[in-house]
């Protein structure tokens, strides 16, 4: 974890008596795993399960009144995590999308100059999430002013 962010999380954990809930992903040899909610492919050609969704985590997230999402990369792990969360929300109650807040100034897309640039894909994904009812805010906007946040 990035030192400065680890420090902030540690400070938070002590001040609030709340340890971080780490979610580890990505070590299955047979599938990419951008989203923390689900690997890309869950079974092999014969239909045998090779990986599974993190259903427990989805349930935990949706029990909160608000879920604020940031991190890297906006075009990959962030986008596919939100996309999977939106799919799960779609099977439960579409109004749950209003609980989700995306911190657009704390996430960036993969850009390797002259090789790849996923900026447009990332922005299109965020537009789709916004259209589905999720909120997009900046970290510098006062939290108490965010729509739906009742502190």
């Amino acid at each position: 974890m990035v030192s400065a962010v680890e420090e902030a999380i540690f400070f938070y954990g002590i001040a609030r008596y709340c340890p971080p809930d780490f979610q580890v992903k990505g070590s299955n040899p047979f599938t990419e795993n951008y989203s923390v909610i689900s690997p890309e492919v869950l079974e092999d050609a014969q239909g045998n399960q090779i990986a599974e969704k993190n259903a427990r985590f989805v349930r935990a997230l949706l029990e909160f009144d608000a879920v604020i999402i940031a991190g890297q990369a906006k075009s990959h792990c962030v986008a596919w995590t939100i996309d999977d969360l939106l799919s799960e929300i779609g099977t439960l109650d579409k109004k749950l999308a209003k609980k989700v807040y995306l911190l657009e100034d704390c996430t960036s897309p993969v850009v390797i100059p002259g090789v790849v640039d996923y900026t447009d894909e990332a922005n299109a994904a965020f537009q789709r999430f916004s259209d589905a009812g999720m909120h997009v805010f900046r970290s510098t906007d006062a939290l108490e002013s965010w729509s739906g946040i009742a502190l």
Partner: protein, 171 residues
Amino acid sequence: MGQVWRVPYQERAEEAKKWATQYKIETASQDRFRICLLLVDVQNTFCIPEFELYVGGRSGTGAVDDNRRLCEFIYRNLDVITQICPTMDTHQSMQIFHSIFLVNERGEHPTPFTLISIEDVEKGVWKFNPKVAAGLNIDVDYGQKFLHYYTQQLQAGGKYDLTIWPYHAML
């Protein structure tokens, strides 16, 4: 922000306790409106310039600037964030999206950021590397069939093609 350093845990713990007392900050379990902060892969490999898969955005300073703002956000809203959930990407060398998993007719592996479509697999542009099989406890035929099925599934799901990433987030 863009560097790796030792976190002075003991000092920060003492400061955090003082801070909580001084500003009468309650424990998170007391929050009535419960806010989760989900932090996706805020890891050195993605966030530190010169690291394997640094996410620079178009500005070139993307993840570094993001994390400066993120730290400020955490400290500023420390009293109302109920839970922080950091995700951690964890990889090993022999995974489907790393170079060594695939090989061409000449015995070469794909370079990072190569995209591999189902057509590439069907034409034999890239094949499952048979030398990987034993280490993953599968047979070569299964590996090749799985690669075909995998690229087909990605295409059917509207996802990006199989992407070969630089070795990163290594355990």
